[in-house]
Symmetry: C2
Subunit: 231 residues, 2 copies
Amino acid sequence: MTGTKARILDTALALFNRHGERNVTTNHIAEALGISPGNLYYHYRNKAAIVSALFDRYQERLLEWLPAPSGPLTWQDKMRYFEGILESMWQGRFLHRDLAHFLLQDPELRRRYKTFVAASLERGLSIYQGLRDSGLIAASDEELRGLLMNTWLLAASWPGFTHGLNPDAAGDENLDRALLRQGVYQIICLEAPYLRNEALDHLDAMKSEYRASAATVDLLFTDVSVAPGGE
Amino acid sequence: MTGTKARILDTALALFNRHGERNVTTNHIAEALGISPGNLYYHYRNKAAIVSALFDRYQERLLEWLPAPSGPLTWQDKMRYFEGILESMWQGRFLHRDLAHFLLQDPELRRRYKTFVAASLERGLSIYQGLRDSGLIAASDEELRGLLMNTWLLAASWPGFTHGLNPDAAGDENLDRALLRQGVYQIICLEAPYLRNEALDHLDAMKSEYRASAATVDLLFTDVSVAPGGE
DNA sequence: TGACCTCTAGAGTATTTACTCTAAAAATCC
DNA sequence: GGATTTTTAGAGTAAATACTCTAGAGGTCA
């Protein structure tokens, strides 16, 4: 039931994330799928169209993770938001990695991205205001805006940062997860000073739950000479 | 006195920052300089060597901005640090934009980058500890590390973020500066909760000094249809 | 069975681009 | 001023890659 069109997106996303969009040719995608280049171009008129479609999918999925609050929010809700954001950004990490290039080349995409960022930040603000109403955080609207902008930048750049430092780790599911969780930890650090009540009570527990081991963090900065043949 | 070798770097940096490394060919660089491709390749054996040299220069300049504290620090010192960091990252914004690709392609560069990031974070920690000794901030070492990581990510991604949303602004010196200062504002937001004493007294003043006007920020997210012929 | 439409194959191409090579100009040295 | 070395020009090339084009397979409906 999964049509060729969707399979192209899946494969392209996986290849882009692993090798970088720049290093993945349309022929590579077709080959990985076991289809012909002609077939690929039958479904997408060019490479940019694939990127554009992936961007749409990414955008939808991220906003799904950020439903406007309906009713009082708990600190568990907050953690779910964080996980969702980072999960989405992880899945679309190639996008943020090469975003600057796409935005420069494609004014239409740029337009969409602007409204997307603006919408996400608005959505985030309403969520944080909900958390404030629930007494879980204390901050002025201005502080929330600053916090949100920083959260966005952090979440958007974290996957690219870790993957850039440690591309060899790609495919190691455990390590991937650990690094992703460390990203949540960084976001926790960001908002920690504003937490109150139950959120504050659980701060330490959350920190230690999401923080990666020192060994894992070290792995980011120390030089791991890849064993030969370990591709 | 400025040799060809240095002029190549200057021109390449300017072109890379404006158009993205991916869109700038070695022939473009040579043409912009008014030299032949052969000449360019006489000085740098390939494009990656140019990027690598630019990276070295960037690295040196950033660390120059982050001298280890000798004696007690003031809040003015702190602001100078921030400005220096963002200034450096602005000048090398193409690097962070396309960093993932460079790191993936060049294991040697990756190694250097890892030690560079680690060194910068260490340096940053000693600076923050200096600020703590001066009573300007209050935070545990662990909090400082989290803060530093976030500061790094923020500073590294802010130039690319603004430029990506608004590439047409490139060349508008005033707008560039305003957006860069807004980056400092974001960093201020990051550390605001930890400030004490004089640093706290000047917080509001610093915020309003660095924050860009609402109109400028709006410009980031609203769609500016570029007037035709406005390249 | 035949007409029609969707989907696929795969060889092929036009273009871009990083880089080479040879020779000559310019600078330096004795 | 001649010899030698450094620097430059610029035409040219090999490889990569996004994309095209034609032909045909497979399904559907009459």
